[in-house]
Amino acid sequence: MQKHYSFRLKPLAAATSAALLVGFGTGAVRAADNLPDMGSSGGQDWRVDTFYENDTRHRKDTGLSKFRNTIQVEADKDFGGNGTFSSIKLRTKFRGTYDGVYKLNDDEYGKNAGGAVTIENISGPLLPPLPTNAGTPLNLANVPHGGGINNPIATALGLPPDNNFGFNLVTNPNSGLKVLGSDLHKTKGGVAFGVPQAPCDYDSRGCIKDYMDANSHELASPEFNDRLDFIREAFVVAKMPMADGRSWNFQLGKQQVVWGRTDLFRVLDVINPVDYSRNNIYDELQDIRIPMWIFTAEYRMGATETFDDTNIQLVWNFDKFRPNNLGQGGTPNQILGAGDFFRGMKNLWDNGGTVANFALASPTFGVATDFGPNQIGIRKAHMPEWSLANTQVGIKWEGVYQGTGFSLNALTFRSQLPSLRNLYSKGVPNVNPFTSSGPFLLAPGQTAQIYPYNIAFDIYFPRVNLIGGSMDMQLDSIKSSLRLETALTKGEEFANTAKPGLYSESKVWRYVIGLDRPTFIPFLNETRAFLLSGQIFGQHLLDHEEYRGPWGKYGMPDHEHNHIATFLMKGWYQNDRVSPQIIMAHDFEAGSSVAAPSLEWLFSDNLKITVGANYKFGDGAQKWNDARDGNPFPPFSGGQNGRPGTVQGMAGLTGYEPLGRFRAGPIGMANKEDEVFVTVRYKF
């Protein structure tokens, strides 16, 4: 599974050892001899800024969704220069967070989150009242977790007696669960299953080792982990002037390296992964980029005969791989609802579970089914270990030509978003729910039972290669500045139900066109202009696949061509002490929108208060082929729609879950997450 919108929404609206760099000293000259640097003569005192911030949010249906308290200390030191470097600086940021929501609203997000659930069983009332593991009859329209087709029922239906339907309700009880997607939509004949909600120290079901396995302490205070994230940044900046007036600039340490020229969207700004669990797409990127141990070497050529300014930057992200944090199941901020989906799937693999409307599924029929362990779901996440080959390298040529800023960028990196490859594609066997034996299920030459189109997955983070560029310029005739950014990637993987592996690779072209215009609106403010900023983001999957089956479309749920428009209007009053703004975004293909008004009040240099809301509207949840119709276990799982039982592949059966999330996009999937918030920041 790959998430495809690299998008966030709150814009407008900062090394280890310099000794490592001394080796570059050959040919360098003293700063004072040629191009001295600010403060290079003898260093400066430490500069330390400390602030506390409380961010409290209330969500329409769930109540308190955030009570986040942050302490951040920024300590900088300029050491001055030495014989090689004209300046050496240390930049550090330390951050500690405690989000009290897991205690204050533990019914929703803490140890008491979730409960007993019922799973849709649209054809249940047509069936006899056969007893299920849950102790309830099968002929209910909604059955409890554990109330679907089990071994005896399957046997009674004519399947081999050694079928593996049913699971252990002791190890996977009907408690602490929520029905996948139930905050956003009803099941409506599609797929659903129970998702454990409590932090992993209270409920380990569905926790994915090394990927989504945070306990309550790690959720509340995410910086205090084995990656030492409380050190948000610690890097050395060293500048080495050359005799010809050019210079090298080195940065080494835990840091953020930012590419690109656009707001909100991460087209080129993909060097650091992003933590969406902090506040989905609504925090400043500076606060949610996950700093990595990175070395950059920048050769600054300055002005040349052709360019007003030009430089080449080499970026080496030598840190151990980290993916984007998409938010864990059961937590308030999950982009695309990925956390719940992954956790529910992992639980299905480990413990089995009841899946809505699965058996004999068609657009008008489906029976809740109790899958056993190791049949469907997510088996594990393959987190890339540290190795030289797994590090990430980029190069950027940037400059200014005739007043136009430009960059050309290239990066090879590990996708920060997960790709779900089914086990068939990797040759990994899984349990056939229909029988414990059956050599007839094996294709010639197969040595293990692997099942094309089966919804059993491992998570991978494939390598992606990116080339791109950016430009900015003034458009004096319309008193605006224009920003362009584009990238072409190769190696990204997407869900694709047309493939036996249920994924495929596609080259992706993304771009952003942005226009900023300060504009006086006299009836709102006679003396201060408003900033109007509009952007259009385009994403095109160049190897997109989409087919129409007898029941509907299947293939890649991501839109082949999609656009998101954003608009910012920001004003300032009382010498910028009061600043209202509204940000709006519209996802054209998803038909979803968000409006985020806020008002910032700078009470003093030390105290800032922001109140605001974000309100989503539009189509919300979307449907897509859900892979119930792939017939991975012929002949048992086939025969739908009159097809021969041996025919595999999709017929286009659709539902909201699990792939509709890619149609709905990050705005549509958060359709029911309207919030109001107050943020108070105090600088000590």
Binding site: L12, V258, N575
Partner: protein
């Protein structure tokens, strides 16, 4: 107002009359332009060194005050202590370059075009009211004025946002400002130009914000082309975004970080000649905030510097006015009307110091034509400021006060300015430097 503006004091008129000769020699032109007090300084029966001009006696000094300052004093918002008029001699190289260009520089067809200029003061001749483009020539004298020289830095540079009625300080910003001339340089090597300079830049200003936390690490780079008809480039680095944003033209004329100044107000006027329609309104003598920094009796003890440097103190109503001495100086009255009908102001009236060609007093009128802001830049003699400035021949910007007379709000500035090559190398004035200036 006109009565005041056009009235030359008798003495001053006598002093300057030689400079008005129609067939002035180069020496006479130079003397008139750069040494206006060579033969004597302006005098006034009331406005004498040591005198204090306040609301009780301001009427007797009305003829040597611009109308806004007269009203401020009349209101009791500020008192001016008069200092002796002193000569702010410019650097010899700048004057020599001016001499070399006499008679060789002329205006082009369009406003914003100049022909034959190499260095120094473009039009050192005394302006003529009958010359319809005299104002434009003065604008060029300002653009190519020595101003901060070839290379300079103001750091730290404290800006305070103040409420006039209560004196409450709302914000204290700590900046670093850096200036670099790419062309027409006269003192600091390389002279006359920094090369390569493929886009033919004339000048650049780089600004970095150090405090408060809210806007810390914000940086601004303004690049002005030698071709005045070419739009300036401005880029802003926002610390919280860690990205450089190109500024649209309109942001130059919007409030800078919430202050009472717009970027276009920097140094008096920070725009292109061609952005304004310039009109010369005559010469006069008024009180201007020119002084010796080190001789000021009351300097601030608020911000500590290791070398003991003290900043100018502010006082008066709301703390909006610099507590420095003012002296009688000959000025040109210059009116600038924006060519853009959507510009947020209707005009600026400048009182341009004839000797330094700097815009030290500015009255800004809103779109309705009403007086909106009163801008003062205090200038210190370089020989009586930081040791590094001694002998530079540059009148040092030392304090500013931008008072919004309508909203009763002001922004004040306290400078530590240094004429320095080391603090402002060309590498500082690049967009890439902003990205990597952590």
């Amino acid at each position: 107002m006109k009565k005041t503006v056009f009235k030359l004091s008798v003495i001053a008129a006598a002093v300057f009359s030689t400079g008005l000769a129609t067939a002035a020699t180069p020496d006479e032109i130079i003397d008139s332009s750069f040494y206006p007090y060579k033969k004597g300084v302006p005098t006034h029966p009331v406005v004498k060194p040591g005198a204090v001009i306040n609301k009780s006696n301001v009427d007797s000094a009305k003829d040597v005050l611009d109308p806004a300052m007269y009203q401020v004093i009349k209101n009791g918002d500020y008192e001016i202590t008069v200092g002796a008029t002193t000569s702010f001699d410019l650097h010899k190289n700048y004057i020599d370059a001016t001499r070399a260009g006499i008679g060789k520089v002329k205006l082009g067809e369009k406003n914003g075009q100049i022909i034959g200029y190499v260095a120094g003061r473009a039009f050192p001749e005394e302006p003529d009211l009958k010359d319809p483009r005299a104002g434009e020539k003065l604008a060029w004298n300002y653009k190519y004025g020595i101003n901060w020289g070839d290379s300079a830095m103001i750091s730290p540079f404290y800006w305070k946002y103040r409420k006039m009625d209560t004196g409450k300080i709302e914000t204290v910003n700590k900046f670093g400002f850096h200036f670099l001339n790419y062309k027409h340089r006269v003192v600091i090597p390389p002279v006359p130009d920094i090369t390569p300079n493929p886009s033919n830049l004339f000048r650049a200003i780089y600004v970095k914000v150090y405090e408060p936390l809210d806007i810390k690490d914000t940086q601004l780079l303004i690049q002005r082309y030698d071709d005045d008809l070419k739009q300036d480039d401005a880029n802003l680095y926002l610390g919280f975004q860690r990205r450089v944003r190109r500024l649209a033209t309109g942001q130059i004329t919007d409030s800078f970080l919430g202050s009472d100044l717009m970027i276009e107000d920097f140094e008096g006027y920070n725009g292109r000649v061609s952005d304004m329609k310039w009109s010369y309104k005559g010469a006069t003598t008024i009180l201007m905030a020119y002084y010796n920094h080190n001789d000021q009796k009351q300097l601030s003890t608020e911000f500590k510097e290791k070398d003991g440097y003290q900043y100018v103190e502010f006082g008066g109503k709301g703390g909006c006015y610099p507590l420095v001495t003012w002296q009688l100086r000959k000025v040109y009255v210059l009116e600038a009307v924006p060519t853009d009908p959507n510009h947020p102001i209707s005009k600026r009236v400048y009182y341009m110091d004839t000797q330094a060609a700097t815009l030290s007093r500015t009255l800004i009128y809103d779109r309705k034509g009403e007086l909106w802001k009163s801008f003062t830049i205090g200038k210190s003699h370089p020989d009586h400021h930081l040791p590094v400035n001694k002998g530079t021949g540059i009148s040092i910007d030392d304090a500013f006060s931008m008072v919004d007379l309508q909203s009763k709000h002001c922004t004040t500035g306290q400078f530590r300015g240094e004429v320095s090559k080391e603090a402002s190398p060309p590498s500082l004035f690049t967009v890439q430097n902003m990205r990597g200036a952590n």
